[in-house]
């Protein structure tokens, strides 16, 4: 039986603070298939890092469960299948990249005979072979992230979890890391990465999920997420308005979803408006993300007691 690489089912996590309980995850359901590059998008505090920590066993869920290739999240068997790069990757800076990777190879239980070979391969993949004996404290931020990816890869895991991999990096370093992820896909490694960079997710991910307020809001391929969200923008002239159309502002502009455009057009023209210009605006992932998060925020504030 083929298991999902990641499976969250009804995952809930509540932190008990001095100010009262804080619900970080409110019943998260999400499945990631083996071999795909999966983008995990959300604002700060949406629950991305919390759910990733649950996968690693760093945090225990309050309810629901998580599995990695069918193994309960946090178990030793599950952790053997994961390579992890944390959001803020700090390493023992007195070590060189080669020493750090050897340490992680030993901790991951890589057989002694394979340790050196695995380290060499991982460093080659991230392009740090020539600097492997330099101290990590001498590396730039981009190089440190690459070392982080190498340490995650040293145990040859089938699942790589990268928490905000390209955050704070320059465009060149971001592109380098994107290339590395595509190379990992060729090796059939599942890459689960959280990001704030929508264009990055759009360009390399097979599928993506939007998480907001601790719950999954949307999930699918990029075309699935953006289709039916295309908008049509129109400029109208009010010639003889019998009865106003609420979507048309004073300036005579209107923006409607593509699937509503035809009926809206008919309604407006029957009321006496004259269409001056019409254009179609393709929606990208960023627009979808904004639409969804704003809608969820509006709904949440409408439901709140204040």
């Amino acid at each position: 039986m083929l298991h999902n690489a990641i499976n969250f089912q009804g995952l809930k996590k509540t932190f008990h603070t001095l100010r009262g309980p804080v619900q970080a995850l409110r019943g998260l359901d999400l499945q990631v298939k083996p071999g795909e590059i999966f983008g995990y998008i959300g604002v700060n505090g949406a629950g991305k890092s919390t759910s990733i920590k649950v996968l690693l066993g760093l945090i225990r869920p309050s309810a629901g469960g998580a599995w990695v290739f069918g193994e309960p999240a946090g178990s030793l068997a599950a952790r053997r299948k994961i390579g992890y790069l944390p959001e803020v990757a700090n390493y023992h800076e007195f070590m060189s990249a080669a020493e750090l990777l050897m340490m992680h190879a030993r901790l991951a239980g890589v057989p002694r005979a394979l340790q050196a070979e695995r380290c060499r391969e991982a460093l080659e993949l991230v392009g740090l072979s020539t600097r492997k004996h330099s101290r990590i404290s001498e590396y730039s931020k981009g190089m440190k992230q690459r070392v982080g990816v190498a340490q995650a890869l040293v145990s040859d895991p089938p699942l790589l979890i990268l928490d905000e991999l390209t955050s704070g990096l320059d465009p060149f370093a971001q592109r380098d890391l994107r290339d590395i992820m595509l190379r990992l896909k060729e090796r059939n490694i599942t890459v689960f990465f959280s990001s704030h960079h929508m264009n990055e997710v759009e360009s390399i991910c097979d599928r993506a999920a939007i998480i907001h307020r601790g719950a999954l809001q949307a999930c699918g391929t990029i075309p699935e997420l953006t289709e039916n969200r295309e908008r049509v923008e129109m400029l109208w002239e009010a010639v003889e308005v019998s009865e106003p159309v609420s979507q048309i502002s004073k300036e005579g502009e209107a923006s409607v979803a593509r699937h509503e455009a035809h009926s809206f057009l008919q309604l407006a023209m029957s009321r006496g408006y004259q269409l001056k210009r019409m254009s179609s605006k393709r929606t990208n992932l960023e627009d979808v993300f904004h639409d969804i998060t704003r809608r969820v925020d509006r709904e949440a504030s409408a439901c709140s007691p204040s």
Partner: protein, 258 residues
């Protein structure tokens, strides 16, 4: 087990690089010079070696306690704060192994430092006295056990509380656990009349380690021989208490959200 040793090795290397070890170097230099300094005030009396050993071993004991409080209470919170713990604990490695490794690395460093200081003091005395006293290392071993146990206690508290609070609690256990019966009876009860304090200390002492078991300064200074079985007994005593504190820390750390 291999993972535990790997964590211990990294912890040892990490701790060696901490600036606090400038104090160790300063202390080592002081221990080398101490015999000559004491000798300058001895006015020809041959008691200088005795005074030096007394002074030196007391200083080494305080050094061990300070290091244990400082390192023991901060190693785990430091790793959490710097987030170096995340990639390590994402490996197939039990949290108890992680704690054990952190403890071993810390204890190894404290022990090595105490032996270094003792060696310096021994060399200083031998250079003036032309006599090598290997018994000094018996006292050093006792101090190493004492400091290692204190480090385990602080590490245990640091899993529950902030590093400063863990240090304070550890110091409290050290002070109460190190109070001798003579001190309780003659000072607290008879001299001060603080029976409530004496009762409280005696009650607490039933649940915490007795640190006075590790203090071999007086027999060493006065040249009494120490039964080798005593070293085995004090080592076993320390190991059992260390294991108990690490077990308590491990149970809590296992369910702690990081």
């Amino acid at each position: 087990m291999l993972s535990l040793l790997e964590i211990a090795r990294v912890q040892l290397l990490e701790n060696v690089r901490r600036q606090v070890h400038l104090v160790t170097l300063f202390m080592a230099a002081a221990m080398l010079m101490l015999p000559a300094y004491v000798n300058a005030f001895s006015m020809g009396l041959q008691a200088f070696a005795l005074v030096t050993k007394d002074f030196g071993l007391t200083a080494i004991s305080y050094y061990g306690v300070a290091m244990a409080l400082l390192l023991g209470s901060s190693v785990v919170p430091r790793d959490i704060e710097r987030k170096t713990i995340y990639p390590i604990l994402s490996r197939p490695l039990g949290r108890v192994s992680y704690l054990g490794g952190q403890f071993l690395g810390t204890a190894a460093l404290i022990t090595a430092s105490i032996f270094l200081l003792t060696l310096c003091m021994g060399l200083g005395i031998a250079s003036l006295n032309h006599e090598w006293d290997s018994n000094l290392f018996a006292a050093a071993w006792g101090y190493s056990l004492e400091s290692s146990l204190l480090a385990a206690i602080c590490m245990c508290f640091s899993v529950f509380a902030s590093p400063p609070l863990a240090g304070v609690l550890g110091f409290f256990v050290y002070v109460v656990g190190g109070m001798s019966n003579a001190f309780i009876q003659f000072f607290l009860r008879e001299d001060r009349g603080a029976n409530w304090a004496a009762d409280g200390v005696e009650m607490l002492q039933r649940f915490i380690p007795n640190f006075s078991n590790f203090r071999l300064k007086y027999p060493v200074v006065h040249g009494f021989s120490i039964d080798p079985h005593y070293h085995a007994a004090e080592s076993l005593y320390a190991c059992l208490w260390i294991m108990m504190f690490l077990l308590i820390a491990g149970i809590r750390f296992e369910v702690k959200d990081l």
